[in-house]
């Protein structure tokens, strides 16, 4: 096999999961560079990266839960309202009953879980379509927010603001950087190297030929390079800033949920239910329980996102969470999930969410008005998915597909040159 072919196989639509990891970072870098040029270098300044991370972490947290909901074949329109409802409950609890902030966060998560159990009950056990249940929830909890908060803005104490507006403390010697962020970056580098090494070992154990060494090395170098770059940027902001706390929460959630959806039986069941509910049921998957847990989980994440937003805004207001559901859903579909369920990945959704976030940010840096930003975002969503559907139908090489194939769980794994990829898939896919 020639080296070019090796590269193509391993970087674009290769069958190894490592290639998917690499492709994800590749896509991100491409988008970042695009905006870096457009905004004359403003995009990649420390200040902007930190602001973007803090600003969009809650939408990306929602995208994680929404991905699982959509993979299971449902939709959740109520996340914004649940976020607002939880926010006001937590803010009021701290204001009126002087509850300290750590138990208040627990309270918020419990409220999210209760709401999730309520919605999950209707979806899974009564069989009301999630669209309807969550449309009802959207009204119910938006009204609940205004009822409890009297349509007023309720401030939250300083301690609580940390989860949304906080940064890592400055400790240790003066290196010119935030030392804790540097440590996190180092840990990430070690993690990436360890992962690559373990993946190679796994491939060997499977008696499958691992990618050539030079590919591994190249991939590692690029990944480590990106991590080092990001670390220095996040650590090198104004004194007192670092990788935001909300960004750390997001990263922890992404890692945990990626592992869950990829590597556990529970995660597989979600894909099985979304891919073919009847077949999953006949394979012993507890359909109702999966649906229930997916809806419950979404609401808990929505509650968390709501609290982070309230913490960042320093107050819970009646307009919190407006239209968040749409941002989260858009992120998931741009990230390659299928409307009919069964396909999509956490990392893909995060990339989708970042595309939207950087688009927003870049256009705002350019001074483009919010009206035009919305129009552009709408068109990007439509075009990203439409171009892909079109290419799929034509059986031609799909650009987004090739970029996002890596993030798609077990997506069609044939290289673009494979004539077999021209076969029409049985399920209508929206993006891919």
């Amino acid at each position: 096999m020639s080296r070019i072919k090796d590269l193509q196989k391993n970087l674009f639509g290769g069958t190894t999961s490592n290639a998917r990891q690499f492709g994800m970072i590749f896509t991100l870098v491409a988008i970042v560079l695009l905006f870096q040029i457009w905004t004359d270098g403003l995009t990649l300044t420390s200040g902007n990266l930190i602001a973007v991370a803090a600003q969009y972490s809650y939408i990306l947290i929602l995208a994680i839960g929404m991905l699982m909901v959509i993979v299971a074949g449902h939709i959740d329109l109520s996340v914004g309202s649940i976020a607002a409802f939880t926010g006001i409950v937590v803010a009021k609890a701290m204001q009126e009953f002087a509850i300290p902030w750590p138990p208040a966060i627990v309270l918020g998560l419990v409220v999210g879980a209760l709401i999730g159990a309520w919605q999950g009950f209707w979806v899974a056990y009564v069989g009301v379509p999630a669209f309807i249940v969550t449309l009802a929830g959207m009204l119910l909890f938006r009204g609940g927010n205004q009822y409890i908060g009297n349509a007023d803005t309720v401030p939250v104490p300083t301690g609580f603001r940390q989860i949304g507006a906080g940064f890592l403390p400055e400790v240790g010697p003066n290196t010119g950087y935030n030392n804790l962020t540097l440590l996190l970056g180092l840990a990430a580098c070690v993690g990436v190297v360890w992962r690559e090494w373990k993946a190679r070992r796994t491939r060997r154990e499977m008696n499958a030929d691992a990618a050539p060494m030079w590919i591994s090395a190249l991939r590692l170098a690029v990944m480590v390079g990106v991590i080092v770059f990001a670390t220095l940027r996040f650590a090198g902001g104004r004194v007192g800033t670092s990788l935001p706390i909300s960004g750390i929460i997001l990263i922890a959630l992404v890692l945990a949920y990626s592992f869950y959806t990829r590597n556990t039986v529970g995660g597989r069941h979600i894909y099985a239910v979304g891919g073919n509910a009847r077949a999953a049921e006949l394979s012993g998957v507890k359909l109702k329980r999966v649906n229930f847990m997916v809806m419950l989980n979404m609401s808990v994440l929505a509650a968390l996102a709501g609290m982070i937003f309230v913490a960042r805004s320093a107050a819970s207001g009646p307009q919190d969470g407006l239209n968040w559901e749409l941002d989260a859903i858009a992120a998931v579909f741009i990230g390659g999930a299928a409307v009919s369920g069964g396909l999509g990945t956490i990392s893909g959704s995060i990339v989708g969410g970042l595309v939207m976030a950087l688009l927003n940010n870049g256009l705002q840096l350019e001074g483009v008005g919010i009206d035009k930003v919305q129009m552009i975002k709408g068109l990007v969503l439509l075009l990203a998915v439409a171009l892909d559907v079109y290419n799929k139908k034509q059986g031609r090489f799909s650009i987004i597909g090739s970029l996002l194939r890596q993030f798609r769980r077990d997506g069609p794994a044939s290289p673009p040159s494979d004539p077999g990829s021209a076969t029409t898939p049985d399920k209508a896919r929206v993006a891919g």
């Binding site: 154990e205 039986v265 597989r268 891919g275 077949a279 999953a280 394979s283 794994a413 076969t423």
Partner: protein, 515 residues
């Protein structure tokens, strides 16, 4: 009768699908004013022939000619054939449940007056048509509020609203109870007396023998014979011989069974239809399976075999289940699929694509889907183990795929079926229920799958094979149960199994004593 003018003549019709010849040189002659029955096994080509006639397969996609009322016709679609007065009533009724009887009768054919629908005229005409088919109901009643038998009559009334000359009924009594069936057959006789021609496709040979004037038998896409019922003195046995009269070639691997003790027994299994709970789908069925034994379930479509199997498999079908299941002498409960799997049951469904596989999955994921606990610790999947397991099955079942990471849609039907078999073998079952395990699979793959089934039996497992192909059951099974309308009508050991006996038991409620 024979001197009546010929209404329809189909001459040497040949219709091929990619890779399959569905109809080869088929001839059909229908005379005006007769009831003409078309008989044949599943897949013999009956439905395809009717689709050619009604224009579903338009002119140009088949070879041969159709003469209708003495003229050559070339239908480009259903509308064209309906305009000529040929109307098909399908097994699945094409009625809108939320609309009234009148609205349904005139759906797409509404009487108009100055652009608007003339509901008064429609009502009047509907009452006439309803009287014609013997339906006594308020024409404003919604379709969903009347029984399936009456719905069938509405379909026929709808056909008459279109000025029908040739009425084709596909399995008209499959979903009907005996009283409704009798009424329908009487109605057909009434039409014959008025000079209306009908073609009836049915598996219920007793009904055909009773009502038909002529019978055309199809087998493997060919016309076998055309019988004049009255002249030739045709009875059910005669029809059966025509339908199955082929030799059983050696399409099965050599096998010496090693049959042990009875380990699985079902008693008084009763299941009701999930929607109309007054319909019994299984009526007190009971059967046994021995270790190492391959047990066949023979029956016609709609006999209730799949329903029996799925209701056993963790109540996946039906409501108000009752009966007892014993395994190794102890009564067991099978309340959910997970419980059934735990008790060592496995069910390979007849519809691989709709309910057997997640088509978005790859080969290895599909194989472990029914028992992921075997390759995981604390819920975390071990990818190395998963891969190894999948590779083992790929080799042992000789699954043709470039890699176990390949998507299942890329595989041929036979290889997909092997993946499904692997999925259930992976659960270490004691009893495998295989529903139509070779449907849509070519001969070579069939042979391999028979070999796998025999090997499983030799490992001491019990295997139940549900099949609509009698030769397959006779060639493969150690014992065959026949099922008719939810009742087990026979228990035939291999040495006595012959198609005619089986077909007879499959088509009548009379329990024939086993010789």
């Amino acid at each position: 009768m024979t001197d009546a003018p010929v209404l329809l003549e189909m001459r040497s019709i040949t219709k091929t699908f990619p890779g399959v010849t569905a109809l080869a040189d088929v001839n059909l002659v229908v005379r005006a004013g007769e009831i003409h029955a078309i008989c044949g096994e599943n897949g013999a080509g009956k439905s395809t022939l009717m689709k050619v006639l009604s224009g579903v397969h338009p002119h140009g996609t088949y070879s041969g000619g159709i003469l209708y009322q003495g003229e050559e016709v070339r239908f480009g679609g259903i509308r064209a054939s309906e305009q000529a007065g040929i109307v098909i009533i399908h097994q699945e009724l094409a009625l809108v449940p939320g609309m009234s009887i009148t609205e349904n009768i005139f759906l797409g054919n509404e009487p108009r007056r100055r652009g608007a629908i003339d509901w008064k005229a429609a009502q009047r005409r509907a009452l006439e048509l309803m009287e014609l088919v013997g339906l006594q109901e308020d024409p404003d009643t919604l379709i969903k509020d009347i029984g399936v038998g009456k719905q069938q009559l509405v379909e026929i009334a709808k056909a008459f609203a279109k000025d029908v000359k040739l009425l084709i009924l596909d399995e008209p009594t499959a979903a009907l109870n005996e009283a409704d069936s009798r009424h329908l057959l009487d109605l057909l006789r009434g039409f014959r007396d008025r000079g209306i021609t009908s073609i009836i496709i049915s598996h219920k040979l007793n009904e055909i023998a009773a009502v038909a004037d002529f019978i055309t038998i199809l087998r493997d896409g060919r016309t076998i014979e055309s019988l004049d019922v009255r002249a030739d003195g045709v009875n059910e046995d005669r029809i059966v011989r025509g339908m199955v009269g082929r030799e059983l070639s050696s399409r099965f691997p050599e096998h010496t069974p090693h049959i042990g003790e009875v380990f699985f027994e079902v008693r008084d299994w009763t299941v009701r239809h999930p929607i109309s709970a007054d319909r019994l789908v299984c009526k007190g069925s009971g059967f046994t399976v021995r270790r190492g034994e391959i047990v066949g379930f023979a029956g016609l479509m709609g006999a209730g075999r799949t329903e029996l199997a799925m209701s056993l498999f963790g109540r996946s079908y039906g409501v108000h289940l009752s009966g007892q299941v014993f395994k190794d002498g102890k009564e067991i409960q099978l309340r959910s699929v997970a419980e059934a799997i735990r008790h060592g049951l496995a069910y390979v469904s007849e519809d691989r694509k709709a309910i057997g596989l997640n088509l978005l999955d790859d080969v290895k994921t599909s194989m472990v889907a029914a028992k992921p606990s075997k390759i995981s610790t604390y819920g975390v999947i071990d990818p190395v183990l998963e891969h190894r397991v999948a590779e083992e099955y790929r080799e042992s079942l000789r699954i043709k795929t470039p890699s176990v990471d390949e998507g299942v849609t890329k595989l041929s039907g036979g290889n997909q079926q092997k993946v499904v078999l692997a999925k259930w073998m992976f659960t270490d079952p004691d009893l495998l229920i295989l529903d139509e395990p070779t449907r849509g699979i070519d001969v070579g793959a069939k042979y391999e799958i028979y070999g796998i089934i025999q090997k499983l039996a030799d490992q001491g497992k019990g295997v139940i094979v549900i099949s609509s192909e009698l030769p397959e059951l006779i060639g493969l099974c150690d014992r065959i149960y026949t099922v008719f309308e939810g009742t087990i009508t026979g228990d035939v050991p291999r040495r006595d199994a012959d198609p005619e006996l089986l077909m007879k038991q499959m088509t009548s409620t009379k329990k024939t004593p086993t010789p």
